[in-house]
Structures are given as structure tokens and as C-alpha cells.
Symmetry: C2
Subunit: 157 residues, 2 copies
DNA sequence: AGCCGATAGTTGACATGTAACCGATCTTCG
DNA sequence: CGAAGATCGGTTACATGTCAACTATCGGCT
């Protein structure tokens, strides 16, 4: 036994093969760089963070004009506390509002403001172009399909 | 024009098709959940963060026993300041040491301690098992290969 | 030799995430 | 009805990242 990390082949644990390691390390690096690039574009073009965009995007869907904080946190795979903080910042900036839920006094309902709607309308075209430039348009249809399959398998639980 | 986000088809910007959106949103959710799961395992099993593991892993490679901070930051795709702070924490915990580079007085050389070596040796088997469980073993060899290809295309610049 | 822009690493100010806990409210069941 | 426990959203304490500024050093060019 000598080397540690992901690299060596041993018999005890099932270490990663070269192909498996390529996939894993590739995923790790892709994650870093892709997110960096897309988020940088979004911040430069629209003054929004990835998180802002995600929240606005969900709220702007036709049937989700008003959403409970808890439901939003589930959709975003976020902790409630993190979302609560983030909504506070977005509220400060005038992008969303928070009001007591009339049906459940424990709850809070989040809604877009006019400014929030404008913000995502303005941001969307550039953001989609950025996602295309950095990811989508670099891949073949078959690769895109496989990426979707992979995500499905990983998420399935 | 009505809906905003990633969802609608328009003519002006090239919005995402259903397949493209599946890939992009799938990637986004996979990123969140996969990282969460792997990092949780690593923290529970070995008391290390993903970042700790990455640093230790590189330093434990045979020819990289001593590395400049700058080179480490390039390999990890990290900012220097972030790495500097992280190394400070790891140094506190006795996992690595930092010393002046004898060849370039501006530089700092990072090295593993005995405890650092032990830490990654202990952590590696469980971590590999975790990566297998949450990602590798869920995919076919063809999917793994495609994932590697995708990462390569995205990183290539 | 000596100056000056480039480079290395650290640090201060700040942004933003999580985990643990809290008060308010709902819901279930005796 | 009314108490026990679950649930909701938020807050406090803390971890950890970025950007910009800073100090020290290097190295090419005159």
C-alpha cells in the first residue's frame, strides 16, 4: 500500500478504474468551472445571482405566482433557513414580497413584485444564451440525452 | 410573450428545448443532491470536508509531497485567498504545514503532516465507496464514458 | 546597481450558506 | 374542549467563500 486518494488500485476496497475516475474528476471540475462561468455571466449581465434567478424563475411560472416558503425550499432543494435569509435580501431589493398566508397563520406567502418580474424578463435571454454557450451547444443531442439520464439515475432514490 | 425562466419557446432568443432543459435542470439538481450526499458521508465517516479531501488527495500523490500554494490553487480551481484561508484551518487542525519556499521567498510550500497522511488513508476507502454508491455504480460504462466526454467538452477552452 | 511592473500569499470587509433553536400556530386525540 | 406534539418560518451562532487591498519579493531593462 502506498498511494492514497482516488488513484491506486488495491484489492480491499474497490478503487476507481481509470474510466470511473475520469468521470468523477471530470464531473468535479465541470461543476466548478461551469457554475463559475454561468454565474459570472448572470451577475455581469443582469446583476442577479444564480439563487436569485432560481427563485424568480419558479415564482414566474404561471401557476406559482404565490408560493409558500416551505414549498419553495423543497423545489429548490434548499434549507428553509437559507431560503429565509435569501428572501430577506430579495425583499430588500424589491424583487419579492412576503405576506402572511391567510389560510395558515404559521405560513408565509412569497410573490413576485413588478420589479422582480421585470428583472427575470430582462435576464432570461442572456442567461439562456450563457447556458447554451457554456454547456448546451457544446454537446451533441445524444450527450444531452445521456446527461439527462445520468441526472435522473442519480436523483432517483 | 408570457412566461419566463427556462420554460417557454419564443423566436427571438433561442430558448431551450424540452430535452435541453431536462439536461440543464437535471444537471443542476444532480449537482445539489450528489454533493450533499457525498459530503455528508465524508463528514460523518472521516470528519473531513470535500475541500479537505481534495487538498489531502493532491498532496498525497507521490510526486507532490510539497506544493506551492499557487500551484495547488490552480489544480483545485480555487482562488488563492480561499485556499489560503482553508490551509490556515487545516494547519490549525494539524493536517498540513506551511513553510517558506527556499527557492522563492515570496512563496509558501505546503506539505502533509503525519496526521494528514493518516487522515486521508483512513478516509479514502469510505469515500470511494460513497462515490460509488451515489454515482458510479448507478451508471453504465457507456454513461460513465459520456460523462467524461461531457466534462472534457465543457472544460475545454 | 537600481527602478518598476509583475507575482505570491495573506488579510479585512463582506456575502451567503448551514445547524440548532425559538415562538407561534395547527392538528389530533382523549 | 383542551393538552401534546408536529409543523412553519425565522433568527442566532458559526463556517466558509469571494473581492480588493496590502506587503514582500522577484526579475527584466536601462
Amino acid at each position: 500500500m502506498s498511494t492514497i486518494g482516488y488513484r491506486e488500485a488495491m484489492t480491499e476496497p474497490r478503487w476507481l478504474t481509470a474510466a470511473e475516475m475520469r468521470a468523477w474528476l471530470g464531473y468535479r471540475r465541470m461543476r466548478r468551472l461551469l457554475d463559475l462561468r454561468v454565474n459570472r455571466d448572470l451577475a455581469a449581465d443582469a446583476g442577479l445571482s444564480e439563487q436569485d434567478y432560481d427563485v424568480l424563475s419558479i415564482l414566474s411560472e404561471p401557476h406559482d405566482q404565490r408560493l409558500r416558503v416551505g414549498e419553495l425550499s423543497e423545489r429548490l432543494l434548499w434549507t428553509r433557513s437559507g431560503l429565509s435569509r435569501h428572501l430577506g435580501r430579495m425583499e430588500q431589493r424589491g424583487l419579492v414580497t412576503r405576506d402572511d398566508d391567510p389560510d395558515d397563520a404559521r405560513g408565509t406567502v412569497v410573490a413576485l413584485t413588478a420589479a422582480g418580474r421585470t428583472a427575470i424578463q430582462d435576464a432570461a435571454p442572456g442567461h439562456v444564451a450563457s447556458v447554451r454557450r457554456h454547456l448546451i451547444d457544446r454537446l451533441t443531442p445524444a450527450e444531452l440525452r445521456t446527461l439527462g439520464d445520468i441526472a435522473e439515475k442519480v436523483l432517483d432514490d
